[in-house]
């Protein structure tokens, strides 16, 4: 193209010398690519000349008086990407040019702060933009998402953070990394999402199951992690970001480079590294809580308007130390830990990641291709492969020291395709299919019976979603999805467990081989799941709209819920799944009223979620072994009801001062047993005061107050026999810790290094007052306080 351009321009300078007559002309029509309607007001420019015309009401134009028959035209329209076209006026006089007149592409290249097109019309969504993400680049995905009302987190210490959306987490929350659904053993409470937030350009959270194209089982919600859309222009740019933290005495850094070309080719490489030593609570070192994390991604592709492809690879490896004091032997140790209010092991600060610890590696490989069809829509085809390797290390004796207790490899292949019909601006239809093959392999050389068995899983899904503009104010959206899944497992049961659970009566035919004290079984379980959604969004005017959404979703039980069986050493508990577990079915209605103006705005969103056969894990009793008594945590199904409200408010008081306020409340009840559900997030109240002074090098100072109430609704504690005191005692395992208040502060300024606003320096102080507190949704709350004050310094350089 460049060559052509040079030739053309050269010709234009040279040719007039020969005194050629300027009598050539060209005319044509410009139409919309999608619905083929004429585009008026499009600008047609002859490259290298001053000649330009605009199209009339019928999208037509004529250019006369051209001195040469070989010209290049640049066609542009305010809402379109420009198009270049080489024309020989001797060969063709009447042109028909279609331009991409649609918001979609604009949306893809939109800058921070601008409104984005939502993924669904009526579901409740929130997008975190790059600027917010960059301020939190040292945090985990769960930490970042907590900024959104209605989102809390289920922690194991400070480094393992699982997002909880409106009270639901784990397999009920789908995470998509660059449109690939993460398959990373999300079933365990101590399994954090294997994603580095630094790969994201923006993160969108959709509450509930309204976005059916991503899966029908998102009873909690969907998290979309989107990398940057790279614009087709010749450019080379990058970014460097670094953080240093006082708590943990380490930091992280990330480097990103992008090379793009006018013709649509692009390549992007990104890498990041994070290292922290032991974290510190206000009064003591949290011994063995360090982390070492490496992430990287490579993206290459060619993106043109009509078609494009992309290959994407991402790597994530994290080595996380688990608080030494949380590794306990039996129920007496747990009672001692709960009563002592102080970890039973406090060592000096160190960087070493000792056992107990976990090391997880995730590879994600994706290839996709899309093609747009004029006047019809867009076809997408995608294949992805993921490999998740998880090692969990316990404190072990003798030769087993250093041998992992859990060694699982999960491999997943997915092929998917969808077609979007968007030619008509008033309605949009999308349908697609998905096929998935998954294999889990548990390495027997651990010398510990497999907590999760070897299995093959097959999934097939199909969906159709649509959006229809009933009027200028009213949008209707609806969708339907069907999923089939089959798990074919090879599972060893202890004979005593098999009989205690009554499986010998109900599933006697599943036994494949008898090993004496153990039985090899082959359960093959099929699940048919249906999900649907229906919603309306109405524009009330005055930057206010109201939406209502109903979603039905069904989720098949995950391998942990079905097959867990045995002592989970790192948690000192016996976890029991249930082969009889059925799919759970959620019926959720969500309402939202939102106002967004520059001066002020609010969002009030109540919801009701009734879940049949809700699967939960809770303490159910104790079992005795020679090591003493262990609490048994069993999976159970019940009728659950979750009701709550998320509300937020912001106001721009003066041009420099702004306040933001959020509150989330949720009540979870077990309707079958008529009591509270376990692990329901307590009420959270967040208030933020922001001062901005752009003329002072973009100064921004924010003070944030986080108040978390005490959860006063929880299931009853259990009574256990304590060999140590030789009597029954109450195990205070469900009692939540008291309310707490934490203050955070953040400030930043932007400077010029090489070009304008390319260098940002910032400081973040979390737990400003160094308060001691424990959080109900932190599994280590029995053993130690949360992190104390942390001062972080960050640098960001764009180049």
């Amino acid at each position: 193209m460049k060559f052509y351009f040079v030739v053309l321009t050269t010709l234009w300078f040279v040719l007039p010398v020969f005194g050629q007559e300027c009598t050539h002309s060209v005319s044509g029509e410009i139409i919309d690519f999608h619905d083929k309607t004429p585009l008026k007001g499009a600008l047609v420019l002859v490259v290298g000349q001053n000649t330009k015309v605009t199209t009339d009401n019928l999208g037509k134009f004529t250019i006369k008086g051209l001195c040469t028959n070989e010209i290049e035209l640049e066609i542009s329209h305010p809402e379109c990407t420009s198009q270049f076209l080489a024309v020989n006026t001797n060969e063709k006089k009447e042109l028909k040019i279609s331009l991409e007149h649609h918001l979609e592409l604009l949306e893809e290249v939109q800058v921070i702060g601008a409104t984005q097109k939502k993924k669904t019309a009526s579901s409740i969504e929130k997008t975190l933009q790059l600027q917010t993400l960059e301020r939190m680049s040292s945090g985990s995905l769960g930490d970042v998402l907590k900024k959104i009302p209605g989102v809390s987190s289920l922690n194991t210490g400070a480094n393992i953070v699982k997002p909880v959306i409106q009270g639901l987490s784990g397999s009920r929350v789908l995470i998509l990394n660059n449109e690939v659904r993460m398959q990373d053993m999300e079933w365990g409470d101590e399994h954090a999402p294997n994603i580095d937030v630094n790969v994201a350009n923006r993160i969108t959270l959709i509450k509930g199951a309204g976005a059916l194209q991503y899966g029908g089982d998102a009873i909690g919600g969907v998290i979309l992690i989107a990398p940057e859309k790279i614009v087709a222009k010749d450019s080379l740019y990058g970014k460097f970001l670094a953080n240093g933290a006082t708590n943990g005495r380490g930091g992280n850094a990330t480097l990103e480079l992008v090379k793009s070309f006018e013709n649509g080719w692009f390549v992007k490489a990104q890498g990041s590294y994070k290292r922290l030593g032991d974290l510190e609570a206000p009064n003591y070192v949290l011994s063995n809580t360090g982390i070492s994390q490496v992430g990287g991604s490579l993206q290459i592709g060619k993106n043109n308007f009509k078609e494009g492809w992309e290959a994407y690879y991402s790597y994530f490896d994290s080595d996380i130390a688990i608080l030494r004091a949380s590794h306990i032997g039996n129920v007496d140790d747990l009672i001692t830990a709960i009563n002592s209010k102080q970890p039973n092991f406090i060592g000096p600060f160190g960087y070493t990641i000792d056992n107990p610890s976990q090391e997880v590696t995730h590879h994600l490989l994706k290839g996709n291709y899309f093609r747009r069809f004029e006047g019809l829509g867009k076809l997408k085809i995608q294949y992805d492969y993921q490999q998740n390797q998880r090692f969990e290390y316990d404190l072990r004796r003798g030769e087993s020291r250093g041998v992992p207790s859990i060694d699982l490899t999960l491999r997943t292949h997915t092929i998917s395709s969808d077609f979007k019909i968007d030619a008509d601006n008033q309605k949009q239809l999308k349908f697609g299919i998905m096929g998935r093959l998954q294999n889990n392999a548990a390495d027997p050389s651990t010398g510990v019976r497999r907590l999760i068995p070897d299995y093959d899983k097959y999934d097939i899904g199909a969906f159709a979603t649509g959006e229809y503009n009933l009027s200028n104010q009213l949008i209707l959206d609806a969708g339907l999805r069907y999923d089939f899944s089959r798990i074919d497992a090879k599972k060893f049961y202890q004979r005593s467990r098999w009989e205690e659970r009554g499986y010998n009566v109900d599933f006697g035919d599943l036994v494949v081989e008898d090993f004496g004290s153990q039985l090899l079984t082959n359960p093959v379980l099929d699940f048919h799941n249906l999900s649907g959604t229906l919603g309306l969004k109405y524009d009330l005017g005055g930057e206010t709209d109201i939406s209502v959404n109903y979603a039905l979703s069904q989720r098949a039980p995950n391998p942990s819920e079905l097959f867990s069986e045995g002592l989970h050493h790192s948690a000192a508990r016996i976890e029991l799944g249930d082969l009889r577990t059925k799919s759970e079915t959620s019926n959720k209605v969500a309402l939202a009223i939102e106002k967004k103006s520059t001066k002020w705005g609010y969002n009030v969103a109540p919801y009701v979620n009734g879940i049949d056969n809700f699967i939960l894990l809770e303490p159910s009793g104790v079992e005795f072994t020679i090591r003493g008594a262990f609490p048994v945590w069993s999976y159970r199904q019940t009728k659950a009801l979750l009701m709550g409200i998320d509300a937020s408010l912001y106001k721009q008081w003066l041009s420099n001062w702004r306040t933001e306020h959020q509150v989330s409340y949720i009540k979870g009840s077990d309707k079958t047993l008529d009591r509270a559900l376990i692990n329901v997030p307590p009420i959270r109240l967040l208030n933020r005061l922001i001062y901005k002074r752009p003329q002072w090098n973009g100064l921004r100072v924010a003070l944030e107050s986080n108040y978390v109430f005490e959860q006063n609704e929880f299931p009853p504690n259990i009574t256990v026999f304590s060999p140590q005191v030789n009597e029954n005692v109450v195990l205070d395992i469900n009692t939540p810790p008291p309310a707490y208040h934490v203050l955070n502060m953040d400030m930043e300024m932007t400077f010029k290094m090489l070009k304008k606003d390319d260098f940002t320096i910032g400081m973040n102080i979390s737990n400003l007052l160094n308060d001691s507190y424990r959080d109900y949704l932190n599994r280590q709350r029995f053993f130690a306080d949360n992190m104390g004050r942390n001062v972080q310094l960050r640098l960001k350089l764009y180049f």
């Binding site: 590794h327 039996n330 003798g398 020679i626």
Partner: protein, 182 residues
């Protein structure tokens, strides 16, 4: 176009490469570290040894340990005690006492006596002269009934004041035997 073709080819080949699902039956795992059996033998000079035994053959399975005491203790007698720890899920049974004694700096037995007129004393020690306790002596005085609890702690604080609370660490074994002195 060529690239498109090759990338498609690469992806397809990957699909086949990674589908090495072997349908072989997985092998069972016999837990290496499970402790199933604790046997305490109390021997007095000239008398029949008395055996206190706790056996839990399904390890962390649902069955509770089976506890057996072979007889009563005599008054005013000094017994020399030895503790043996086994993993009987393996065949032949693995003697875990050897591992415990080898890693003596990381292990310690604790003896808890309640209601019995008896005292205990450590019989073996680690290299730092801190107690290990797979060997001990038990001295009885007057007739009484009560219980003895044997607790093995992994990675306790060493030295400690002899109480479980001070020692910390994690419990590998804890067994309580009802015993009579007559």
């Amino acid at each position: 176009m060529k690239i498109k073709f090759f990338s498609a080819l690469a992806m397809t080949s990957l699909l086949f490469l990674s589908c090495n699902n072997d349908d072989n039956a997985p092998e069972p795992v016999n837990e290496e570290e499970v402790i199933t059996t604790l046997t305490v033998t109390l021997t007095a000079a000239g008398g029949t040894p008395i055996e206190l035994k706790s056996q839990d053959l399904d390890g962390d399975g649902p069955d509770a340990p089976v506890i057996n005491v072979s007889g009563s203790l005599a008054t005013s007698t000094t017994y020399s005690g030895t503790i043996k720890v086994l993993n009987e899920t393996e065949s032949p049974a693995e003697d875990i006492t050897l591992e415990v004694e080898e890693e003596d700096d990381e292990h310690q037995f604790f003896y808890g006596i309640s209601g019995l007129n008896a005292t205990t004393e450590y019989g073996n020690f680690d290299d730092d002269q801190n107690p290990l306790g797979t060997e001990f002596t038990l001295t009885t005085t007057d007739a009484s009934t009560g219980s003895i609890t044997f607790t093995l702690r992994h990675e306790p604080k060493k030295p400690n004041d002899g109480t479980l609370a001070d020692a910390g660490g994690e419990t590998d074994i804890t067994v309580t035997f009802s015993v009579e002195i007559e």
